[in-house]
């Protein structure tokens, strides 16, 4: 009677039911990528032909390359600006404009993509009229993705910055490090794991986005989600299932590997810290 549900049958069935709900679409995508029928609703036989089709599909391949490039650049920018934002918000105490910075960093976390897309597009069009650039393309999509990414990276990095032991930085300062050296040699290595998480998260956000890309893309910058979206609007396309399965497999391996790695790194770090304290005391 320790709590209402405990490890009851009800609790277990609820967990299982919700997990089925979460995974059924993914399983369906994978299963029907091997289905012989073009109507991806009835099972007629096992085939690899949609994978062959997808690998010859120039539109999909080009989209994939553009999306990977874009996601890499967006994640890089997001981590850089996210680190600045998080550092300023955590370490700089009170300053003029703190509220503004917090709001501007928080807003894109929940702001509907349509609003972000439309407002950035209107600004870029106005700029183009005024200065003659930027042309719409990968660069303009990048700005949109990096804005969203900065906000998410900030959240991830902030929580790590809060955790780290300030005494380590103070020690470095006492030993004569300049503020920049402290940041580069002490703080940055300490938050490295958060930077990796932030990079992966913002990479995924960019790789996934349809709406912002739809507003900000130009000729020659059709990302993979844009290709998938325009086909999905028309109906079901088994090549998409094949692409989806490849993405799901890659992402699953990546997520499992990185969480195992982080778990191990975290344990090692805690052990090292514990050892250090133990030696200090003796």
């Amino acid at each position: 009677m320790r709590n209402m549900f405990g490890r009851s049958l009800f609790g277990r069935s609820w967990l299982i039911a919700v997990f089925i709900f979460l995974y059924i679409p993914i399983v369906t995508l994978v299963v029907y990528s091997f289905n012989d029928s073009r109507l991806s609703t009835v099972w007629t036989g096992f085939t690899f032909k949609w994978y062959v089709d997808a690998s010859h599909d120039r539109e999909l391949i080009d989209g994939l390359i553009i999306s990977l490039k874009l996601a890499f650049m967006s994640a890089t920018l997001s981590v850089i600006f996210g680190t600045f934002t998080a550092f300023v918000l955590v370490r700089y105490g009170r300053f003029k404009g703190r509220g503004l910075l917090t709001s501007m960093a928080n807003a894109p976390l929940v702001m509907p993509d349509v609003i972000v897309g439309i407002s950035l597009l209107l600004m870029l069009v106005a700029l183009q009229k005024w200065l003659g650039f930027p042309e719409r393309g990968i660069g303009t999509i990048l700005l949109g993705h990096a804005l969203i990414g900065t906000s998410f990276a900030t959240v991830v990095i902030i929580s790590r910055l809060r955790e780290i032991d300030l005494r380590l930085e103070e020690a470095a300062m006492d030993l004569g490090c300049k503020p920049f050296q402290v940041f580069w040699l002490v703080t940055l290595p300490l938050i490295a794991s958060a930077l990796v998480s932030a990079f992966l998260l913002t990479f995924t956000l960019s790789f996934d986005d349809v709406v912002i890309a739809a507003f900000l893309s130009g000729p020659g910058s059709t990302t993979l989600p844009l290709v998938i979206f325009s086909r999905a609007r028309l109906g079901l396309d088994p090549s998409i299932n094949a692409v989806a399965t490849v993405i799901i497999v890659v992402v699953s391996i990546g997520v499992i590997a990185s969480s195992l790695y982080q778990l191990r790194a975290e344990r090692r770090r805690q052990r090292e810290v514990a050892d250090a304290y133990a030696q200090g005391k003796s």
Binding site: F5, R12, V42, F81, F84, K129, L236, V251, I256, S259
Partner: protein, 304 residues
């Protein structure tokens, strides 16, 4: 001599500090705040042949400001817009409610699972979130179609004789929305539930509260933060969702983002689209402010 060198040093320090503050400030202002101000500006203009009219006009040493509130008046007059805003709010609220009903017990059970299982269960919640959102929504098309997996399965089991029409209805839209946003509800709920002090629940039980009463009077109030955060994380983006209504919704499931999209891409009426956007922002301003305050509060709270 030493004392004299402090002032310039201090001054240098302050400029470095301001520079560091300035970088994220300018970046976010240019990409987050400035575009919204421009949208506000354009919403007060009207469409000229190829471009948007200018709000100010300088002639004969006189500055004339011309605001066009016509777009907003039109929004109020045309019942399509009003109905769409109401319908979007309704779908967002329903999505939030269903996510809470499904997600709260779900997060609760995960938080009460043995510790070694918890990490794995959380990873299982996150995993779909990392795989493409678009593809997962697309998958529901195959699941809910008239000759889709769900109908075929139910007919195979003999539960139904003929397929139930589910695609392009408010049912398919709601399922898709709950599916997509459930992890956003579960994670903040889990974060507060896992910190819940078990002794509080024991105390309530010792004092004679029934399990239900304990849950309602102790657990829920203690996890209020998670409930608010999760609800806002679901409600605000759901209100402006475009992809799910486009792929799973039907002609009668009105969502404001689709209207905005058409206004922009098909009608090419930028001032009108801007006015639609500004009203959208006004409608989510209160939840956004709440989210902002909440987010800052938890951050400060963590510190102490």
């Amino acid at each position: 001599m030493r004392k004299q060198s402090i002032m310039p040093r201090l001054r240098r320090l302050f400029t470095v500090r301001n520079l560091v503050i300035g970088i994220p400030m300018i970046w976010l202002f240019a990409l987050a705040a400035a575009p919204l101000l421009l949208v506000l500006n354009i919403s007060l203009a009207h469409m000229e042949v190829t471009s948007v009219s200018s709000l100010w006009h300088w002639a004969d040493n006189e500055l004339t400001l011309k605001f066009n509130f016509g777009n907003y008046l039109y929004l109020g007059e045309d019942s399509l817009y009003f109905d769409t805003y109401v319908s979007s709010l309704k779908f967002a609220a329903l999505t939030t409610l269903y996510c809470l009903i499904v997600g709260y017990p779900f997060a609760y059970f995960i938080s009460r699972a043995p510790e070694h299982l918890r990490t794995m269960l959380l990873m299982l919640v996150m995993l779909p979130f990392w795989t493409s959102f678009l593809l997962r929504i697309y998958a529901w098309k195959a699941l809910l179609a008239d000759n889709g997996v769900v109908n075929n399965g139910l007919m195979g089991l003999g539960v139904i004789a003929s397929p139930i029409h589910m695609m392009h209805t408010s049912f398919s839209l709601t399922i898709g929305m709950v599916y997509a946003y459930l992890p956003f509800m579960v994670l903040p709920l889990y974060a507060t539930l896992v910190k819940l002090d078990g002794r509080m629940l024991e105390a309530a039980a010792d004092l004679g509260a029934s399990p239900f009463k304990t849950f309602w009077l102790v657990t829920v109030p203690l996890t209020k933060r998670g409930i608010i955060a999760g609800s806002l994380l679901v409600f605000i983006p759901a209100f402006g969702e475009y992809v799910i209504p486009e792929l799973l919704g039907g002609p009668r499931t009105l969502m404001i983002a689709r209207v905005l999209w058409d206004e922009f891409f098909s009608n090419n009426d930028w001032p009108m689209a801007s006015a639609v956007t500004i009203v959208m922002i006004l409608l989510i301003l209160v939840p956004m402010a709440l989210f902002n305050r909440y987010n800052d509060e938890t951050r400060l709270g963590e510190k102490s």
